[in-house]
């Protein structure tokens, strides 16, 4: 049998999804929060109302020019937007293809995560919530959320797997400096997926005064949609910047790394209606799209690393930011309809790419986007024909990874 995904849609799901017509690619999901077969809202009843209220609040904010004005101002004056697109002449010469980088590494706090958190914190304020809850893996999203909380004068509690609080002591200290409380999570595998569970549990207990500031395009509806919209700025800017550089043309390839998939979703949203080939690169040890099967966890139907009965597996790679056993449901959909492809990069080639970009361009990348670069390096001159133009989203800077890379290289 084909399993539930292949069964007749239920009356309830059918009714909820009946919004009339196919949603456009990277437009709004269905009323039930579905991107094709993926997404939805698989949450305990205690969170249904909170998700509905959040959806309504986001919908109204996103239609409000005043909200956009305020967010745009914050992203410009505080987060440092727009970020440039940088030509990489020395790297391009080395690879025989033209490389452009979208420089999210140059934002305040050093990664694209800031776009999402400033938007969600502004939304939380609009909803009258003065407390932010977040999960974090390596600590990037936790640091970003703690930053947003400090900026808005909000309380902030970050859940982080106990394994990760040990691995990423410095980020724990950063969050504490920013005034956040970091709570080590000892349940399950004590990593990111368990931090998400714990954040959801904490949200259930404090829905009245707390907003759950989820860090990627995952979780229950409306998060995958909302976070993609908040990251859309990456793709919108990059598209115009690429056209300016390329004399009105679009890149042939657009490549981004995928953990939960937020920098990739934001990037792809700017190019989905061009002829660019879109590629999402997962860590080989956390490749939900490449090695997973459909399932439901953290409120969403998507591809997940899991065993034959449905227990969720852990992800393992050198980059904590990509160590997530699932990915956002919209990516599962983009893959299903053939609009984006998903590939993997392994630890070794990622380290080589990390060094290569540092040496040729003076840009030390975070290990996460080094995956995107590693995939491009591997395919330059074969699958990616010589002379092609490739834009890669440099989702973050490598400062956080330098100590780890030093250990790995010596």
């Amino acid at each position: 049998m084909s399993g539930p995904a292949g069964e007749e849609p239920s009356a309830a799901a059918g009714a909820a999804g009946a919004t009339g017509g196919e949603p456009s690619v990277m437009g709004e999901p269905s009323a039930a929060g579905r991107f094709g077969d993926f997404g939805g809202r698989f949450v305990p009843e205690s969170l249904v109302l909170a998700c509905e209220e959040l959806e309504e609040a986001f919908r109204s904010a996103w239609a409000d020019p005043e909200f956009h004005r305020e967010l745009d101002d914050i992203l410009r004056d505080y987060a440092g937007r727009p970020t440039p697109v940088t030509e990489c002449p020395r790297l391009s010469e080395r690879l025989g293809i033209r490389i452009l980088l979208k420089r999210e590494d140059l934002t305040h706090t050093g990664s694209h995560k800031i776009n999402n958190v400033m938007g969600q914190a502004l939304l939380a304020r609009r909803m009258g919530k003065g407390r932010l809850i977040a999960e974090t893996g390596a600590g990037q999203h936790g640091v970003a959320t703690a930053t947003a909380a400090a900026y808005f004068g909000m309380e902030c509690v970050v859940y982080m797997g106990a394994v990760d609080t040990e691995r990423q002591e410095l980020n724990v200290f950063r969050m504490e400096l920013l005034g956040a409380e970091v709570i080590p999570v000892h349940s399950g595998s004590r990593t990111l997926k368990d931090a998400v569970n714990e954040a959801l549990r904490a949200w259930v207990a404090r829905v009245g005064d707390s907003h759950y500031c989820l860090g990627s395009v995952m979780g229950p509806h409306p998060y995958p949609w909302m976070v993609r919209e908040l990251q859309r700025v990456v793709g919108t800017e990059a598209r115009a910047q690429c056209r300016a550089i390329l004399g009105g043309a679009d890149p042939d390839w657009v490549v981004a790394c995928v953990g939960g998939g937020s920098n990739a979703a934001g990037t792809f949203s700017g190019f989905v209606d061009t002829d660019a080939i879109l590629v999402g690169v997962e860590a080989a040890g956390g490749a939900a799209m490449s090695h997973g099967v459909p399932g439901v966890v953290h409120g969403m139907m998507s591809y997940l690393l899991q065993d034959e009965v449905g227990q969720i597996n852990e992800a393992h790679s050198i980059s904590a930011g990509l160590d997530y056993p699932g990915l956002g449901p919209e990516h599962a959909h983009l893959s299903a309809i053939g609009r984006a492809r998903y590939a993997t990069a392994d630890d070794e080639e990622v380290l080589r790419a990390f060094k290569l970009l540092s040496e040729t361009e003076g840009i030390i990348p975070a290990l996460e986007p080094a995956h995107a670069l590693a995939w491009v390096v591997r395919h330059a001159g074969n699958e990616i024909p010589l002379g092609s133009t490739v834009m890669i989203t440099m989702s973050g800077r490598g400062d956080k990874d330098v100590a780890q890379v030093r250990e790995l290289l010596t």
């Binding site: 539930p4 069964e7 309830a12 698989f42 009843e45 259930v204 139907m301 969720i312």
Partner: protein, 270 residues
């Protein structure tokens, strides 16, 4: 009622609601106990002991790697069960061969159901003699596919109502729920609480006029006094973490039975 007849009764479709209604219509209060399947070598003995001590029905937890509705106690039991190699199939096999005598419902998370396939999972329940299912991360909007298959083979799907659930939605949930309506006693996850949340009785009071299906309150009901207090408004209670705690602490089936007997006495006094 003779024991063998009771056993057969407890396994036929509809047995859960039938048994709980009978208890209520008799003027009694309903006691539902929760035990995590596979949490120790003697888990099945504990289930039997709990039934003999006065539980009207028993929820069998099928452990999941990411139990988002569960607090530390049930999480610990789940981890223990998973480390012992517990799977849905091993629990079903054990239950199929067991003689418990009261209706059983599984409590698990949707991915295990989805991965097996709705139809296959529903049939596995029937084959194991399980009459009900509680899937807390499957809200009404997402439940259609599962409910159809469950209904088709007579498995009763219990739905949950939270303190935050608006009345109009609560009515729809009550209408869809089979076996009983699971009123969530507080805004939080499973676990023992020193005090009974005020929301526990509120939810019961709100739900009872909405439905003729028995209304039972669970989550945060931890001792006989709290159970009795809830039962002033509710048709019954579900006690999980506090019971699982006795088993985790090594009390075995005897401690579980003593505790359930105390709970029974507590609510019988209401």
């Amino acid at each position: 009622m003779s024991a063998p007849l009771a056993r057969t009764d407890a396994r036929i479709p509809g047995a859960l609601e039938k048994r709980l209604r009978a208890r209520r219509d008799d003027g009694g209060k309903i006691l539902i106990a929760y035990v995590t399947g596979g949490m120790g070598d003697d888990w099945l003995d504990a289930v039997r002991a709990v039934a003999d001590a006065g539980a009207d029905a028993i929820e069998i937890g099928i452990p999941f790697s990411d139990p988002v509705m569960d607090g530390p106690t049930v999480q610990e039991a789940s981890v223990r069960a998973l480390r012992r190699g517990t799977t849905p199939a091993s629990i079903f096999a054990a239950l199929a061969a067991a003689e418990v005598g009261v209706p059983l419902a599984v409590m698990t998370y949707y991915n295990l159901v989805f991965r097996a396939g709705h139809r296959r999972f529903a049939r596995a329940l029937v084959d194991a003699g399980v009459v009900g299912a509680i899937v807390p991360d499957l809200p009404l909007e997402e439940a259609g596919g599962w409910s159809e298959e469950a209904d088709a083979v007579g498995v009763e799907t219990v739905f949950l109502v939270a303190p935050s659930t608006p009345d109009e939605r609560a009515r729809r949930i009550c209408a869809r729920s089979r076996g009983f309506v699971y009123g969530i006693g507080l805004m939080g996850v499973t676990g023992e609480r020193a005090e009974l949340a005020s929301t526990a009785r509120e939810v019961a009071g709100r739900l009872r006029p909405m439905t003729d299906t028995p209304v039972c309150i669970g989550i945060g009901v931890s001792n006989p006094a709290q159970a009795a207090e809830v039962c002033t408004e509710a048709d019954g209670v579900i006690v999980g973490s506090a019971l699982v705690r006795k088993l985790l602490d090594g009390g075995g089936p005897d401690a579980a039975a003593d505790f359930v007997a105390d709970l029974r006495a507590g609510i019988d006094a209401v």
